[in-house]
């Protein structure tokens, strides 16, 4: 898949755990894990917005086209 999810990189940079992020973004850890491991087929704008807000980053920091 040419779109790479760099969520784990951003989480490491912000020193935030999966459980904490899932609580603050209000999605289940299982779903966040799917996103983190690159298994997700799509991401809703609302989810992306919430993640960017919590991690204080841009969508481009999380998603990358290779």
């Amino acid at each position: 898949m040419p779109i790479i999810v760099n969520l784990d990189v951003m989480m490491a940079k912000r020193k935030i755990s999966l459980n904490e992020l899932s609580e603050r973004v209000d999605i289940t850890p299982a779903n966040l894990s799917i996103l983190k491991t690159g298994k997700a087929k799509a991401i809703r704008f609302t989810t992306l917005e919430a993640i960017c807000e919590v991690l204080d980053c841009q969508p481009g920091d999380i998603l990358e086209f290779k």
Partner: protein
């Protein structure tokens, strides 16, 4: 989902009622027919050796004469049997060619296969119905089951064609009628093939639905 459950119950009821009707009505008629044949066997002093349901056609259609009476008004009627059960008493004796015997054995085996396949369909239908009641319709296993049923119906249709062909071949070898000839005209039965094709088409729709569901599940 409620409508789907309702429809599945309807399909199951139709399937079971149809099967029961066939067993009771045809079984009852078969029993009566068998009883009459037995009486005839005692009367003739020889055993019936075959009961064949055959399609017939009159040899000369132009010179058909009235051969029946309408008891309601006394009118003359022309009755042309196009389907008839013919019972033979010595058409298949010991001098029957080996090919005929083989065909009859194949015919019997294929009949059992068709019955077995129908029972298997019933089990699969019931399993699919159970997934409906548990609201787990969009599953890979249901696609597989429906696929088996669809392909099975087409196979049964093809088997029926083979069975009809064998039955008519056996009859043509051993029986020759005065005013009618045995025809291959209705050897192909499209019913099961059409049902199988429709089920396979619906299965493809279900396959698309399952893949959409899977994608939806992976949308975060």
């Amino acid at each position: 989902m409620k409508r789907l459950k309702l429809l599945s119950v309807l399909v199951l009821i139709c399937f079971l009622t149809g099967s029961l009707q066939q067993i009771i009505v045809e079984g009852g008629e078969g029993y009566r027919f068998g009883y009459n044949i037995q009486e005839m066997e005692l009367f003739l002093g020889k055993k019936a050796d075959a009961h064949l349901l055959l399609d017939l056609k009159p040899q000369v259609l132009d010179s058909v004469v009235p051969n029946g009476v309408n008891l309601k008004n006394g009118d003359e009627l022309i009755i042309l049997p196009y389907k008839a059960t013919i019972t033979t008493f010595s058409a298949f004796d010991n001098e029957t060619p080996q090919t005929d015997k083989t065909l009859r054995i194949i015919n019997t085996i294929l009949n059992f296969v068709v019955v077995g396949v129908y029972i298997y369909f019933l089990i699969l239908f019931f399993k699919i119905f159970l997934t409906f009641t548990r609201s787990k319709v969009f599953e890979e296993v249901n696609i597989r089951r429906l696929n088996i049923i669809g392909i099975g119906f087409i196979c049964v249709g093809l088997l029926n064609i083979l069975l009809n062909y064998i039955r008519i071949s056996i009859a043509i070898h051993a029986i020759e009628l005065e005013d009618y000839y045995i025809t291959y005209a209705n050897v192909i039965e499209w019913g099961n093939i059409v049902i199988g094709s429709i089920i396979l088409m619906m299965t493809e729709i279900l396959r698309i639905a399952v893949s959409l569901k899977r994608e939806q599940e992976l949308t975060i």
